[in-house]
Amino acid sequence: MGRYLVMEIRRTLRNVPFLAYTICFPVGFYLLFTQVFGSGSAKDWSAQYMVSMALYGAMGAGLTGVSARIATERTRGWTRTLALTPLRPIGYLGIKLGASILLTLPVILLVMACGFVVNGVRLPVGTWFALVPLLWLATIPFIALGVAIGYSLRDEVASGISVALLFVLSIGGGLWMPVQVFPHWLAQVARVLPSYRAGELSWRLLDGQQPFGSGALLFAAWLVVLLGFAGWRFRKAS
């Protein structure tokens, strides 16, 4: 399965439109909104928006990436070929999850590198290192959502739905613009979304708090619900 995982990652890294879409957008938005529109903006805004865009990028790579790969391979019959090998559906799912987690790393690291190099974001060394696993954890519910979509829908539909969900969740959850500038009613909605609660883990860390506050309970609930949803769709399909 290790070899298959390596192939899965390498073939995804060859997918130029996917990379452009998942890396260029978050990096570009980050630089645009901190350098161009927010020139001279506060360092804490640069740091906060850095983790927001890193999470948005990781969500994109995770949610849209995994749903498209699973849906395409199921729709076009590659999974039938795999069914003739000793690889079990659960092993296939394990490979997809492992590859999806690892494939969020490039965009997370690039956005953070932009923060450090371009915007001069300076954080304690421990915080930098804590951000990566925290952002990974924050991405898992969206990868689970992508898995559920991939096992439920045909390829084009799955891509469309996951892109739409990515935008609704990332904008609605205050990753593009902070919820502080949202109208009251929208901020109320945002606080219920998994994307806001996922971002909150990192934002709290930047504020010098420990990441898991009361909002982490809502995050954990979303995590359990979406993992359950993914598991149900997976069992239903295989």
Binding site: M1, G2, R3, Y4, V6, M7, R10, R11, T12, R14, N15, T72, E73, R76, G77, W78, R80, T81, A83, L84, T85, P86, L87
Partner: protein, 305 residues
């Protein structure tokens, strides 16, 4: 090749499968011994693909039992004893062919070396190519290579040359014959009589979900090489006419007699000698498609020795 004690590579017993109101497989019994090269021949929609899917454990039959080497299909696939090229299924996009072969070989319990498989399947010059940039024939050879990676004792091919041009088909069958020459078992489905004739030792004719004829390729070819002898014969007795030398089937409509024969000379001589009142003789080659249809017509099951 794994040493499997069980002599039968494939054993299907009373397989039935319905999709809603449509009966795809209506009771198929089939045993294939180790080392046989068997063609599953039938028109589109005959139930070949469903039979193959059930044989490989990809679909559950409504009734009946499928075994490969005396075990469940899943267990045989896990043991690497079975390789298959299915009718549908694109390659995973974006991978290099060599990478893909390495990844799939790593899943198999006793894989063959990639180089050997690549040479057998004719993909040695494609290893650095991307799977989404191959021609139809190249894709099919890669799929064949994937089926060989586990070093299978049984190879199952479901219409493997559908959509390929003549040259690609010829190359493909050359590779399959190379595999079979090592004493391994091959089962392939096709609707081309020529492919069955050139590659198989045994042909199983399937139509409307049933096995309608099962015999050596020579016997089936003789059926396919049939000629039609027609004449006018008042008061013809179909039972007596069926005893004519070479006669495979007899049709009588009023005075008109049609004898389908595998030896038109002998049939004609006996007819002239035995029935002086017969007239208006006509001998014509039965078209391959006619013979094929005669064999696969459900109301006229052919007995082939």
């Amino acid at each position: 090749m794994t040493e499997l004690k069980h002599p039968d590579a494939v054993s299907l017993r009373g397989i039935r499968k319905r999709y809603g109101a449509v009966t795809a497989v209506a009771g198929v019994d089939l045993t294939i011994g180790s080392g046989e090269v068997v063609a599953l021949l039938g028109p589109n929609g005959a139930g070949k693909s469903t039979t193959v899917d059930i044989m490989l454990g990809l679909r559950a039959p409504d009734a009946g039992r499928a075994e490969l080497f005396g075990t469940r299909p899943r267990a045989a696939l896990d043991a690497g004893s079975v390789g298959a090229v299915l009718q549908t299924g694109e390659l995973i996009p974006g991978a290099r062919v060599g990478e893909l072969l390495t990844a799939i070989a790593a899943l198999q319990p006793h894989p063959l070396p990639i180089g050997q498989v690549a040479a057998t399947a004719g993909v040695a010059d494609l290893l650095t190519r991307r799977t989404d940039r191959l021609s139809g024939g190249q894709t099919q050879r890669v799929r064949f290579a994937l089926a060989l990676l586990g070093d299978p004792s049984l190879l199952v091919l479901d219409e493997p040359t559908a959509g390929l041009d003549v040259a690609a088909r010829r190359d493909f069958w050359t590779s399959v014959r190379g595999f079979a020459a090592a004493g391994r078992t091959v089962l392939f489905s096709t609707h081309y009589l020529e492919e069955a004739d050139e590659t198989a030792d045994r042909i199983v004719l399937i139509d409307q979900g049933r096995v309608v004829a099962d015999g050596s390729t020579t016997a089936i070819r003789a059926m396919a090489a049939a000629r039609n002898v027609r004449c006018t014969l008042p008061g013809a007795d179909p039972v007596a006419l069926a005893d004519l030398p070479g006669a495979a089937s007899v049709e009588v409509h009023g005075d008109a007699v049609l004898v389908r024969t595998t030896d038109s000379d002998a049939t004609l001589r006996a007819l002239v000698a035995g029935y002086p009142q017969a007239r208006d003789f006509e001998v014509a080659a039965a078209a391959l498609t006619d013979a094929f249809l005669a064999l696969t017509r459900p109301d006229a099951p052919a007995e082939v020795a």
